[in-house]
Symmetry: C2
Subunit: 202 residues, 2 copies
DNA sequence: TTAAATTTTAACCATTTGGTTAAAAATAAT
DNA sequence: ATTATTTTTAACCAAATGGTTAAAATTTAA
């Protein structure tokens, strides 16, 4: 008879997610998580055993959130530019919905690169990158795009999509943008980034 | 008679810098800073009063480190593409030398955006961006480049230069690169990024 | 309805943390 | 050489932290 209350568990998880994203692993407090979830701290331990275990669950989920759709789109049987357009669009939409996600994932990754590296390696990107490279090589041969590696193109796409979310305070400060102006700039990037990528390939 | 030992102060500062970059504000420990500097923890307080004060000094210096040269280059009387080439080259060289810098600065910025925003606003970028926009407009009028705003071009440049450093563990994991391959990829980006930027402008 | 199992709680614990105090040690001034 | 000042140290402190324990409360099974 196993009766863990799924609702309690979920409330704690969602609260933990919010606080870990705001404060990171080192800055988050189990007491705060418990308080904001509306339960007693011992209960958090009853359900999740330890802070590290709770964090692992949250992190796994957020990393998956960051990369979800990427593999699917890159595997899809689409023309190259349509594929790029979809990646850009979905990346920016995803991150507009979860703006704190990349800095959270990448910061925790930089804290503990080896442990997390093992998890990242499980994401089946290598096979997908091989297919992507073949597609790119085919387009190069056709003369439709300049010579570029799948790796560099992938990095360019992710750089142009993700960085403005990571660097939100810096960009707002340096370019003197208020929230509204910043969000307008992000929205504009859906087409700007895709256009940039098209131009640099042609 | 003021006799703070400059060497002691510097040793503590450099040690603090290293540990704050590794662990962040929340994760760094004053005892660790003292131990690694080779002094007693009370001494760290004697010189720097508190953890927050010490962190502020370190952060101010690192933020300046990240943005130094940027304003100078953007103000320089150089042709547009030469200017872009210099920004890219110096950015990548700087970050190759201090690879943990951007994730440190941007992560702490995301923790405390309002406080840090005031500091960022003091960097005289707005005037420089105006000049940059004028230069871009002039090139657009001449027909040498496509229509783009200084803001978006600036964001593209910084995205393409900085993101691969922030996302080091992710890139290594996803693309199955060892350290050597990663560094080779970074070195290659000096020309790749510049070329990409040129293509997207033309 | 009672007993068993599970969830939730309040209280507690050992350790860690940033910071303080006062004295010892070192340096500078007279 | 002595005194004054500054630096450095060891010891200490209160609060915070992640985690544990045992009992109360609730739910489920018989």
């Amino acid at each position: 008879m196993k009766r863990k209350d799924k609702n309690t568990e979920q409330v704690i998880l969602q609260t933990a997610r919010k606080i870990f994203i705001q404060k990171g692993l080192a800055g988050a407090r189990m007491q705060d998580i418990a308080d904001q979830a509306g339960f007693n701290k011992a209960l958090v331990h009853y359900y999740f055993t330890s802070k590290d275990k709770l964090f692992d669950l949250v992190f796994e989920h957020e990393m998956s959130n960051l990369f979800s759709n990427l593999v699917a789109i890159m595997s899809a049987d689409l023309p190259l530019f349509e594929k790029i357009e979809n990646i850009v669009s979905l990346d920016i939409d995803r991150l507009t919905q979860f703006p704190g996600l990349p800095i959270f994932v990448l910061n925790e990754m930089s804290r503990n690169p080896d442990v997390i590296l093992k998890r990242v390696k499980k994401i089946p990107v290598q096979k997908v990158m091989n297919g992507f490279q073949k597609q790119i090589n085919s387009e190069i041969k056709k003369g439709t795009i300049k010579k570029i590696t799948a790796d560099q193109l992938f990095i360019n796409i992710q750089s142009l999509c993700i960085f403005p979310f990571i660097a939100r305070p810096m960009i707002k400060g340096l370019l003197q943008l208020d929230d509204k102006a910043y969000l307008a700039m992000i929205e504009k990037r859906k087409t700007e980034v895709f256009q940039s990528l098209v131009y640099q390939c042609h």
